[in-house]
C-alpha cells in the first residue's frame, strides 16, 4: 500500500482499502516566495477504518540556521567552497551528511557536490564503513569472522 512518488507532484491522496485508486486532490497554487524560507515535504500516512490518507505536508528544514555559508558567493560545491578538501575517514559528522541512514550515498543533484569531491566522499565513506564508524547495509546472515575486528585504512 506504500505510495512512491518524487517531489513536486501530488500533495495529498486518499486511498480506499477495498481497491487501490488514486484520487488526486486539487493542487495548491504556488505562491511567490518572498523570504528565504526553505520548505521541505514530509509524507504522513494516517489510517482509518476504510481509508488510508497519504499526505505530503510542508515542513521547515531541520537544519535551519546550522548551514555554514561560504565567505564569497561562489558556485562551488559545498566542500570546495568551505575549503574541506582533505577530509579523513574519521570525520564522521561531515561524511554522515552525504549518506542515507543505511549507508548509501545521496545523489549529486541533492547534495550539490562536484564530481571530484563526490568520488572522494564515496571513498572516505567506504573506508569509514570498513572501520565500523558509519552504518552500512545489513549483511546476509553469514558474516565473515574477521569483520567484527577493528580495521583502519591508510590514506594519504
Amino acid at each position: 500500500m506504500a505510495l512512491m512518488y518524487g517531489y513536486k507532484t501530488l500533495n495529498r491522496c486518499i486511498i480506499s482499502k477495498s481497491y487501490i485508486s488514486l484520487k488526486p486532490f486539487p493542487f495548491q497554487s504556488v505562491a511567490l516566495s518572498i523570504g528565504k524560507q526553505n520548505y521541505l515535504k514530509k509524507i504522513i500516512q494516517t489510517e482509518t477504518e476504510n481509508t488510508i490518507v497519504v499526505e505530503g505536508i510542508q515542513v521547515n528544514s531541520p537544519r535551519e540556521g546550522k548551514v555554514i555559508k561560504a565567505q564569497n558567493n561562489t558556485r562551488a560545491c559545498p566542500l570546495c567552497r568551505l575549503g574541506l578538501k582533505n577530509i579523513r575517514h574519521s570525520d564522521v559528522l561531515i561524511l554522515s551528511q552525504f549518506i542515507n541512514s543505511d549507508g548509501t550515498l545521496l545523489p549529486k543533484q541533492i547534495t550539490g557536490l562536484c564530481g571530484r569531491q563526490y568520488k572522494q566522499v564515496a571513498i572516505m565513506v567506504h573506508h569509514a564503513q570498513l572501520a565500523g564508524l558509519l552504518p552500512r547495509k545489513p549483511h546476509t546472515p553469514v558474516t565473515e569472522p574477521w569483520e567484527h575486528l577493528n580495521t583502519y585504512t591508510i590514506s594519504k
Binding site: 509524507i43 531541520p62 574519521s90 574477521w146
Partner: protein, 182 residues
C-alpha cells in the same frame, strides 16, 4: 671513613635508576607500530643513561589488546607460521584466528620481534604485561607511575555521538526546495 649519601643525592639516585611502570592503552592502535615504542621502553632507550648491559629497562602494562586495529585486510591475510619440530608439524594461522584463540598474542609477537634478536630479549619480554581488557590486578595497578602516549587517534563512530551533537553540528549544505524528508 665512608660518608653516608646525602638526602638530595639519594633522591637523585632513585629518580635516575628507579625502574618505572608504564601504562599503554592499545585501543585502536596498530600493534606493530606500538610494539616498536613498547620495545624502546622495555630496553630503556628512552633514558639518557641507557646501556644494553645496564638493565635499565622499564615495565610496560598494556591494556585493551582485544581492541587493536590492523590496516585494511591484514586480519585476513597476515599469517603466523609455527612448527612443532615434529614431522608434518608446520602450520599457518591467520591473524584473526590467532586473535580469537588468545587476544594478547598478536601484540606479544609484535613486541617480541621489535625487541631484536639479542639474549636480552627474554628479559625484556618478562617485563611486558598484556591484558585483553582494562582489568589489571591490584598489585600491578599500584606500581604504575606514568602512561605512554597513543600513536593513532581513537576514532569515534557515528552511533557513539548523541543525537543532539549530530543535530547541532554545522551542516555543509541545505536541502533543495521541495525535497521529500523521510
Amino acid at each position: 671513613m665512608n660518608r653516608p649519601i646525602s638526602t638530595y643525592k639519594r633522591v637523585q639516585q632513585w629518580a635516575v635508576f628507579g625502574r618505572l611502570w608504564f601504562l599503554f592503552d592499545a585501543k585502536w592502535q596498530n600493534p606493530f607500530d606500538s610494539a616498536e615504542k613498547i620495545a624502546k621502553y622495555l630496553a630503556g632507550k628512552h633514558k639518557p643513561i641507557y646501556h644494553p648491559l645496564s638493565d635499565v629497562g622499564d615495565h610496560v602494562v598494556v591494556i585493551n589488546t582485544k581492541d587493536i586495529a590492523l590496516p585494511n585486510k591484514e586480519w585476513r591475510y597476515r599469517m603466523y607460521y609455527h612448527h612443532t619440530g615434529f614431522a608434518g608439524g608446520s602450520s599457518w594461522t591467520s591473524a584473526w584466528e590467532l586473535h580469537n584463540k588468545d587476544q594478547t598474542k598478536v601484540l606479544w609477537k609484535a613486541v617480541y620481534k621489535a625487541c631484536g634478536g639479542s639474549l636480552l630479549r627474554h628479559n625484556m619480554m618478562e617485563r611486558l604485561h598484556l591484558f585483553p581488557d582494562d582489568k589489571i590486578p591490584q598489585e600491578l595497578m599500584e606500581n604504575i607511575s606514568d602512561h605512554m602516549k597513543q600513536l593513532r587517534p581513537v576514532p569515534k563512530a557515528l552511533h557513539e555521538y548523541t543525537e543532539e551533537e549530530i543535530k547541532n553540528f554545522p551542516k555543509v549544505f541545505e536541502w533543495p526546495e521541495d525535497y521529500v524528508l523521510n
